[in-house]
């Protein structure tokens, strides 16, 4: 570690701590803690959601994947960008109109039963833990690589930082860390892409010509990583539909005051992500051509350091240090959001609403939220320390799969289907969750005949790396069957649906829902 790296690194830490200090003063109630009091502006929340999208997996993973496999890596970019539209068109506004702090709040607005809340919280915690382990293990490896410190120390540093932000600054600090990181990341990638384009005389044609003639046409079409059409269709389904079911994304819609602001948020996110992911082409091809595939692979087999290596080539040590610091900020921001979401499920849903019937005082709620944050952080850190030697980056795709198969069917049915009932909720969520985990565990990410390529040695029983193409229909069918097989005419349930439909569509009486 040299002086420049240390300065950038400390700069990020210092800036985020100042933000946390300011946010801590404004965080006194449960609503402050979970949703920043619902007071974020559209552009702020939009950048924060973009921050959630642009995880280390997106920034380092996608540019690395393009550098090593060409177009196959770009599939992810397309998936993340189009996913915005699903959120914008059918999820964001009704979600804002019906929910309070968590996904479970939104579902129990219609089905006021503890088992509904329980299964929604279970799904949320599962997604958060899977996502978090992948992020923390990736973070540990990356920081080890960039700063040359031990893996366990790296995980611990990230763990302590994320807990500090959430514990003291709640959603306000988490959001601002996301906003700062999104701006830095956008600036960093724009700079890198600009420098790459400069080297190609600002000509797209010349860049593609170079890749084609010097590296081969196989990088310009899919097939390096994804050889099967079904497998890539399945993965793309998980990406586009799963985003709308990820609890840490859904939670962000409760940080704004109304549906209109939720709409503005996603517009901002759409623009930011569309720009960012377009630039991943230049980062990927730039790294492939200027750094070289062999050099990238030698440093990290998955290509995760392609972007930092490219930065070093283009701008020497200073640019490398800057991009490394940005990557560090990216990791911190995303894991903080996850800690907060996990805490909301443990402390608000399970402890507050299920075990204490929602009768906690404001002070007890905030205390519970803080204890919940520490618990989820400690559990994740321990799991991440154990998972050090495993290649767990695929766990993120499991999280998307559960989001699409367990959460999305239930959200859509709750908003749009009159006959849907609580048995349908349980059936859809349990089926989606279990099928993703079971089919995923039988897939090629876990089983590979080549030793060391996956966790276990053997033939995968399910040939899909992400089983979404099976599990998403299963989730929807289970929700439908669970409902119609147990249907009983209940006028109460119908009354509630009328209220839900009116509220979701007009936004009337929303403050009642969000602050009761």
């Amino acid at each position: 570690m040299d002086l420049v790296t240390v300065i950038f690194f400390l700069g990020i830490v210092g800036l985020t701590l100042v933000v946390t200090y300011i946010a801590a003063k404004r965080t006194s109630s449960a609503s402050d803690f979970y949703t920043a009091g619902g007071g974020l502006k559209g552009w702020q929340n939009g950048l924060a959601i973009a921050g959630d999208y642009l995880s280390a997996a997106a920034f380092l993973g996608v540019s690395g994947a393009i550098a090593l496999t060409g177009f196959d890596g770009f599939f992810f970019s397309v998936g993340y960008v189009v996913a915005n539209l699903v959120l914008l068109y059918i999820i964001a506004e009704p979600m804002r109109n019906l929910g309070r702090y968590t996904l479970a709040d939104m579902l129990t607005a219609r089905f006021s039963e503890k088992r509904v809340r329980g299964i929604a919280a279970t799904s949320t915690i599962t997604i958060v833990i899977l996502y978090m382990i992948a992020q923390l293990v990736g973070a540990g490896a990356l920081i080890k690589l960039l700063f040359g410190i031990d893996y366990w120390l790296a995980v611990l540093i990230v763990g302590v930082m994320m807990t500090t932000y959430v514990l003291f600054g709640g959603m306000t600090a988490t959001s601002w860390v996301q906003i700062i990181k999104a701006c830095l990341l956008l600036f960093g990638t724009t700079l890198l892409a600009f420098l790459v384009l400069w080297k190609f005389d600002f000509s797209l044609m010349k860049m593609f010509d170079t890749i084609s003639t010097q590296h081969g046409d196989q990088y310009l079409v899919p097939g390096m990583k994804y050889t099967s059409m079904i497998d890539s269709v399945s993965m793309m389904m998980a990406l586009v539909l799963g985003t709308s079911g990820l609890p840490h994304i859904l939670m962000r819609f409760f940080t704004v005051k109304d549906a209109k602001t939720a709409r503005t948020s996603i517009s901002w996110t759409t623009w930011v992500t569309a720009i960012f992911f377009s630039l991943t082409i230049f980062l990927g091809f730039g790294a492939m051509h200027f750094v070289g595939i062999d050099t990238i692979k030698a440093e990290n087999a998955a290509g995760n350091t392609a972007a930092p290596l490219l930065a070093e080539f283009l701008g020497g040590n200073i640019l490398l240090s800057f991009i490394a610091a940005v990557a560090f900020a990216t990791i911190l921001a995303v894991v903080s959001g996850l800690v907060l979401t996990g805490a909301s499920a443990i402390s608000h849903d399970i402890y507050g609403e299920i075990l204490n019937d929602g009768k906690l005082s404001e002070k007890q709620q905030v205390l519970a939220a803080r204890i919940g944050s520490i618990s989820i952080a400690v559990v994740s850190i321990i799991l991440a320390l154990f998972a050090q030697s495993l290649n767990v980056s695929f766990l993120v795709s499991f999280a998307f799969c559960i989001g699409a198969s367990a959460n999305l069917p239930v959200i859509l049915y709750t908003i749009y289907w009159k006959r849907f009932n609580s048995n349908g909720v349980i059936a859809a969520m349990a089926t989606g969750l279990i099928s993703c985990l079971v089919l995923g565990a039988m897939g090629p990410n876990v089983w590979n005949p080549v030793e060391g390529a996956a966790i276990f040695v053997g033939e995968p029983l399910v040939p899909l790396s992400v089983p979404a193409i099976i599990t998403i229909p299963l989730g929807f069918i289970a929700g439908y069957l669970g409902t119609v097989l147990t249907a009983k005419k209940s006028s109460d349930a119908e009354e509630i649906y009328k209220e839900i439909r009116v509220k979701a569509n007009t936004g009337v009486a929303v403050s009642e829902v969000s602050h009761h």
């Binding site: 059918i90 404001e362 009328k498 209220e499 009337v508």
Partner: protein
């Protein structure tokens, strides 16, 4: 500390009552009545037709990418050395941004329709 919190809560409550006129009439909202109103149902049908129609179209165009990407159509070079998959992907990016703008254009119209429904309900309720 307790005092500060109480004061703050009182302040928040005050702000809320000032900002949101809607919340003051919560108790009196008859959801049943709005649900049965013809204008409400017409508005919801129109809105959902637009939302789900568009969603169906963009999801279809999107999922064509991983399907066609493995066929010669998109694997051919379209412009210079740029193959079809890149051009199609770029098209999906443009589609996303355009549909995002379309939505932000359409949404205020739906807001307008929603508020018309609500004011019709209020006038009906006053009779």
């Amino acid at each position: 500390m307790t005092n500060v919190t109480t004061m703050r809560n009182a302040q928040v409550a005050k702000q809320k009552s000032e900002v949101s006129v809607k919340s003051s009439r919560n108790d009196s909202i008859n959801f049943d009545q709005i649900y049965e109103m013809e204008s409400f149902n017409k508005f919801v049908r129109k809105k959902n037709a637009f939302l789900f129609g568009t969603t169906g179209v963009f999801l279809f165009l999107y999922i064509l990418l991983p399907i066609l990407a493995f066929t010669p159509v998109l694997q051919q070079k379209w412009i210079g050395n740029i193959t079809g998959v890149w051009v199609y992907s770029a098209g999906l990016f443009v589609m996303t941004v355009v549909l995002c703008m379309v939505y932000t254009k359409m949404a205020p119209k739906f807001d307008q329709m929603a508020s018309e429904v609500l004011s019709e309900y209020e006038q009906g309720g006053a009779k």
